[in-house]
C-alpha cells in the first residue's frame, strides 16, 4: 500500500517537474535551514544551570521596553470575564432585548443559528444545539417568548461543560518528583506567553517553578521565555537553538527533581498538526516528559480564540498524538468569541481549563462556563 503510493507519487512528481523544468529552468533555493531536529544546527544542549537570569525588568533584552505586566508577581484579584470583554462582542449585539420579547418562530431560530455560527461554534454543533431546542419547543417543553428559548440555549451550552473542572492536576505530594505540565499548539497561539503567565501565577502561590524552553526552533523563543522567567522568578532551563526539545525537557525535569521544584512547565515549538514529522517529535517529547521522576499530569492545548473550525481539527490531531487533557483559550479579549471550544467540548470531550483575557499575568483565569456563556449572551 505505502509502497504503491510512494512509487506513484515519485513517478508523478518526476514527470510533472521534469515536464515543466524543460520550460523553466528552476532556480534552486535550499539554503534555508530544514527543520529536522538538530540536523543543521546540531549542537549539544548547553544547559544553563542555576538561577536563570533573575534579570531586572527590561534588562533581559532591548525589546522588552514598555513591557506588559511589570511586577507580574503582584497578581491582583481575578478579573471578571464580563469586565474584560467588550460588551459589543455579545452574540446578539444590541438587539438581545428585542429577541427576548418576541414569540418563538423560525426567524428566531435563524437568528440564533446566525449568532452561533458567527461565534465560530461551527455548523455541526450549532445544528445539534438548535435541533434539540426545536424539538423541545414542539413538544411544549419550552414555551412562551424567545426569552425562554434563549434561557434554554444558555443552559444547554453551560450544560456542555457540566462536570468539568478548571483545576490543573498536580502530582500527589510526596510522589518524589515535580509535576510536569506540557504546553502544545500550532504557531502563534501564545504558548510561550501562557507558560510565562502560568509560571507567575503558580510562583505567586508559593510553588517552586522550573521552565523548560522546549521551543528550540523559533528564533528567540528562549529569550522570550527568559524574560517571563525573570518576572516570575522561576528557573529556566534552555538548550541551544535547534537542540532536541526532548533533551531540554528531560534536563528541566532532572534539574527540578534535584532542586526540589514543585512544577515543571514545558514549552514546545508551535507546529501545525499536519506536519507528520513534527507531531512525531511531539510524541517523543511527551514520552520523555512522562519519565520519572517527573509526573506528567496535564497536556494543555493552547488555542487562539480567533481560530475558526480548524480548531477542532487541531484539538483532534493533538489529542491523538499526545493525549491533550485540556484547552487554554487565549486572546479572548478581542472581538473573536472562541465558540469553537463548544464544538471541541461537544465532539471531543476536552475541558477548557484557562482563558486569557488580557496581557498581564493576572489576565489568565480559570475557565468558568457560566461566565463564558454570560459573556456570549449579555
Amino acid at each position: 500500500m505505502v509502497l504503491t503510493i510512494v512509487i506513484a507519487v515519485v513517478g508523478v512528481l518526476v514527470l510533472a517537474s521534469a515536464g515543466l523544468l524543460v520550460v523553466t529552468r528552476a532556480r534552486r533555493g535550499t539554503e534555508a535551514r530544514h527543520r529536522a531536529p538538530g540536523v543543521p544546527h546540531a549542537a549539544p544542549s548547553h544547559l544553563r544551570q542555576g538561577p536563570a537570569s533573575p534579570a531586572p525588568e527590561g534588562a533581559a533584552d532591548a525589546g522588552a521596553v514598555g513591557q506588559v505586566a511589570a511586577g507580574a508577581l503582584q497578581l491582583g484579584p481575578r478579573p471578571a470575564l464580563r469586565d474584560r470583554l467588550d460588551r459589543a462582542r455579545s452574540l446578539f449585539g444590541g438587539y438581545l432585548e428585542q429577541i427576548r420579547a418576541r414569540a418563538v418562530d423560525e426567524t428566531t431560530f435563524e437568528e440564533l443559528e446566525e449568532a452561533l455560527i458567527l461565534a465560530d461554534v461551527g455548523v455541526r454543533t450549532t445544528t445539534a444545539l438548535l435541533d434539540d431546542l426545536r424539538s423541545r419547543v414542539r413538544s411544549g417543553e419550552i414555551e412562551g417568548s424567545s426569552g425562554a428559548l434563549l434561557g434554554a440555549l444558555r443552559a444547554d451550552i453551560e450544560g456542555l461543560f457540566a462536570g468539568d473542572s478548571a483545576e490543573l492536576a498536580t502530582a500527589p505530594p510526596g510522589s518524589g518528583g515535580p509535576t510536569v505540565w506540557l504546553f502544545v499548539g500550532v504557531n502563534g497561539v501564545g504558548k510561550t506567553t501562557t507558560i510565562g503567565k502560568v509560571a507567575a501565577r503558580e510562583a505567586a502561590e508559593g510553588r517552586k517553578v522550573v521552565l523548560a524552553a522546549g521551543d528550540t526552533f523559533r528564533a528567540a523563543a528562549g529569550e522570550q521565555l527568559e524574560t517571563w522567567a525573570g518576572r516570575a522568578h522561576a528557573q529556566l532551563i534552555r538548550g541551544a537553538e535547534g537542540a532536541d526539545p526532548s533533551s531540554v525537557i528531560f534536563d528541566a525535569v532532572q534539574h527540578g527533581a534535584a532542586r526540589g521544584a514543585d512544577l515543571v512547565l514545558a514549552d514546545t515549538a508551535g507546529r501545525l498538526h499536519t506536519k507528520v514529522n513534527l507531531m512525531e517529535e511531539l510524541r517523543k517529547v511527551r514520552r520523555i516528559a512522562e519519565r520519572p521522576p517527573g509526573k506528567l499530569t496535564e497536556v494543555l492545548l493552547v488555542l487562539d480564540a480567533t481560530t475558526g473550525q480548524n480548531g477542532l481539527v487541531q484539538a483532534r490531531q493533538f489529542t491523538e498524538a499526545v493525549g491533550v487533557t485540556g484547552i487554554v483559550l487565549t486572546k479572548l479579549d478581542g472581538t473573536a468569541k472562541g465558540g469553537v471550544v463548544l464544538a471541541i467540548r461537544n465532539e471531543l470531550g476536552l475541558p477548557i481549563k484557562l482563558v486569557g483575557v488580557g496581557e498581564s499575568a493576572a489576565d489568565l483565569v480559570e475557565f468558568d462556563p457560566k461566565e463564558f456563556v454570560a459573556a456570549l449572551f449579555e
Binding site: V2, L20, A32, D120, Q224, V276, T297
Partner: protein, 473 residues
C-alpha cells in the same frame, strides 16, 4: 494507549475529515444525469451543501450568503453540459465564483520614485508578522532590492531578538532601539535613506483591533512613515472574526493588501475570502511554510480549490520546481518516456522528493487522492526501506531488473533487512510504474502550459463580481 488523567466523554478522534465537495455533490446530482437541466430542487439541495462547506471553511456568514446567491443565479435552470457531470458543472461554477471573489484586481507592487519604498506590517498577536517581515525581506532581496528591516515590536519579549536572528538568516540588516515604536520607525526610515537601502519593512507589535491605545499607536507609526504599502497579516486559520479584524485595521490604516500566513496547515482559509470581499483589498502574499523561503505571491485559483477541498496541485508543482534539480529531473523524464528508467534513476528521484519534505504533506496537495490513501501513514522509515532494497542491488541489477532471479532477490532481501516479498513487491510496482509513465509521459509538460493559459485567461476576466452569464466564457 491510556493517558493518566485522560478525558471522559465521547472521543471520536478517528472521525474522517469531511469529504470533498465533489463527493457530496456527486451523491446529490447523480440522479440528474438523465434530465436536461438543473432543477430548482436539486440546486437548493446543492446550495445547502455549499453553504455548509463554506461555513466549515470559515468563510464569513455574510460573504457566504452573497456567494450562494450568485451561485444560485448561475446554476438554476442552467443547461447541463455534455462534457461535465452535473456535479462537476456546479463545482466549476462555484470554483469560478470563488476565484473571481478572491482574485479581482491582482496585487501589483511598484516601487516609490524616491526610495526607500516603505512597507508596514500590522495584525493581531500571533498572526506571524515578525516571520512574515523576514520572509518579505528575503522576497525583496530576490527581486534585486536592498531591503532594511525595522523592529518596532517593543512589546512582546524578545520580538526584536527574533527579527534580528531572522534578519541575519536572510542577510538583511535590522534596525531597532529601545525607545518607542514611532521613534524606531522614524529613525529606521532616516537610517534606510542614509545607508541607501531601497525598501524598508516595518514589523509592529501584535494588537487587538479593539485596543484603542494600540490602534492609535499604529496610526501614529503610519503617519510618521507614510508607508507606500500597509499589509494586514492574517492567520489562515482565523474564523468568522477575520471580518471585524480586517475592517478595524482597514479603517485605522487604509490597508493596501493582505498577507495570509500558515496556509501550510489544513485550514481551508475561508478567512481570506471574507477579508477580500469585505475590505476589497487583494491578498498580496501567502506564507506557505516554516522556512524563510516558504513565501509566495498569491494565486486566487489555488486558494479557491483549497477552500473547496480540492487539493493544491499547482503549489505542489511549484514546490517541485523549486526543490528539484533541473538537469537530473529532465534526464529522468526523458528516460522514463523512453522506457529506460532504472532503479538507479528512481533512487536519485527519491532523494529529490525527500528534499521537498514529508511525502504525506505532498499527498495532501494532490487532488483526487482517495481518503484512505491520504490518511495512510507514510513515514521516512518506509522510504528508507525502499532505499535499502535498491542500495542492496548491484549496479547491473539496478540498471536491468530482469536480472533479478530468486537467489538474487534473496540476497537483496538479506542485505537490506527486508523479506523477499518486499523485494518482489518493489520490482512489481516499479515495472507497473514504468508502463504507466511511458503512456503518460508527454502529457505532463503540456498540462503545465495549459494551466498557465487558463490562469492568464482568468486574470483577464478578473474583477468581475456580478454573475456572468454562461455564454461569457
Amino acid at each position: 494507549m491510556v493517558f493518566p488523567g485522560s478525558v471522559g466523554g465521547p472521543t471520536n478522534l478517528r472521525e474522517p475529515m469531511f469529504d470533498t465537495l465533489t463527493d457530496r455533490f456527486e451523491g446529490i446530482l447523480t440522479r440528474l444525469r438523465s434530465r436536461g437541466r438543473l432543477g430548482d430542487a436539486e440546486v437548493n439541495e446543492v446550495l445547502r451543501e455549499i453553504r455548509v462547506a463554506l461555513l466549515e471553511a470559515d468563510v464569513n456568514l455574510a460573504v457566504v450568503r452573497d456567494l450562494v446567491e450568485r451561485i444560485r443565479a448561475r446554476c438554476s435552470g442552467a443547461e447541463l453540459s455534455k462534457s461535465l457531470t452535473p456535479a462537476q458543472q456546479v463545482i466549476k461554477v462555484v470554483s469560478e465564483e470563488l476565484t473571481t471573489t478572491l482574485g479581482g484586481e491582482p496585487f501589483k507592487l511598484s516601487y516609490a520614485s524616491k526610495p526607500p519604498t516603505v512597507v508596514l506590517l500590522a495584525g493581531l498577536q500571533g498572526s506571524g508578522k515578525t516571520t512574515a517581515s523576514a520572509k518579505l525581506a528575503r522576497w525583496f532581496k530576490q527581486q534585486g532590492r536592498h531591503p532594511y528591516l525595522a523592529a518596532a515590536d517593543l512589546r512582546r519579549p524578545a520580538a526584536v531578538e527574533q527579527l534580528r536572528i531572522l534578519g541575519k538568516e536572510v542577510g538583511v540588516p535590522v534596525f531597532s532601539e529601545p525607545t518607542d515604536p514611532v521613534e524606531v520607525s522614524r529613525k529606521a526610515l532616516a537610517e534606510a535613506e542614509r545607508v541607501g537601502r531601497d525598501v524598508l519593512i516595518v514589523d509592529t507589535a501584535g494588537r487587538l483591533s479593539i485596543d484603542l491605545a494600540l490602534m492609535a499607536e499604529v496610526r501614529s507609526i503610519s503617519s510618521a512613515l507614510r508607508p507606500d504599502y500597509t499589509f494586514l497579516v492574517i492567520d489562515a486559520m482565523t474564523g468568522q472574526d477575520a471580518v471585524s479584524t480586517a475592517k478595524a485595521f482597514n479603517d485605522a490604516l487604509e490597508l493596501d493588501g493582505v498577507i495570509l500566513t500558515k496556509i501550510d496547515g489544513d485550514a481551508r482559509g475561508g478567512a481570506a475570502l471574507s477579508v477580500k470581499q469585505v475590505v476589497g483589498k487583494p491578498i498580496a502574499f501567502v506564507s506557505t511554510g516554516e522556512r524563510v523561503a516558504d513565501f509566495d505571491t498569491f494565486y486566487p485559483e489555488r486558494l479557491a480549490s483549497r477552500i473547496l477541498g480540492m487539493g493544491d496541485v499547482l503549489s505542489l508543482i511549484e514546490k517541485a520546481e523549486r526543490e528539484y534539480d533541473a538537469g537530473v529531473a529532465e534526464k529522468a523524464a526523458e528516460r522514463l518516456q523512453k522506457g529506460q528508467f532504472t532503479f538507479e534513476d528512481f533512487l536519485e528521484q527519491l532523494q529529490q522528493v525527500k528534499r521537498m519534505g514529508p511525502l504525506q504533506g505532498m499527498l495532501g496537495m494532490l487532488p483526487g487522492v482517495p481518503k484512505e490513501v491520504r490518511d495512510a501513514k507514510i513515514e521516512d522509515k518506509d522510504i528508507g526501506r525502499i532505499e535499502a532494497i535498491i542500495r542492496s542491488m548491484t549496479m547491473a541489477e539496478r540498471r536491468n531488473p530482469d536480472l533479478l532471479n530468486g537467489s538474487r532477490r534473496l540476497r537483496i532481501a538479506n542485505g537490506s533487512g527486508t523479506s523477499t516479498t518486499d523485494v518482489n513487491n518493489l520490482t512489481k510496482q516499479f515495472r507497473e510504474m514504468q508502463k504507466m509513465m511511458r503512456t503518460l509521459g508527454p502529457i505532463a509538460g503540456l498540462g503545465r502550459a495549459k494551466a498557465r493559459k487558463t490562469a492568464r485567461n482568468r486574470k483577464v476576466k478578473g474583477g468581475r463580481v456580478t454573475p456572468s452569464p454562461r455564454g461569457a466564457r
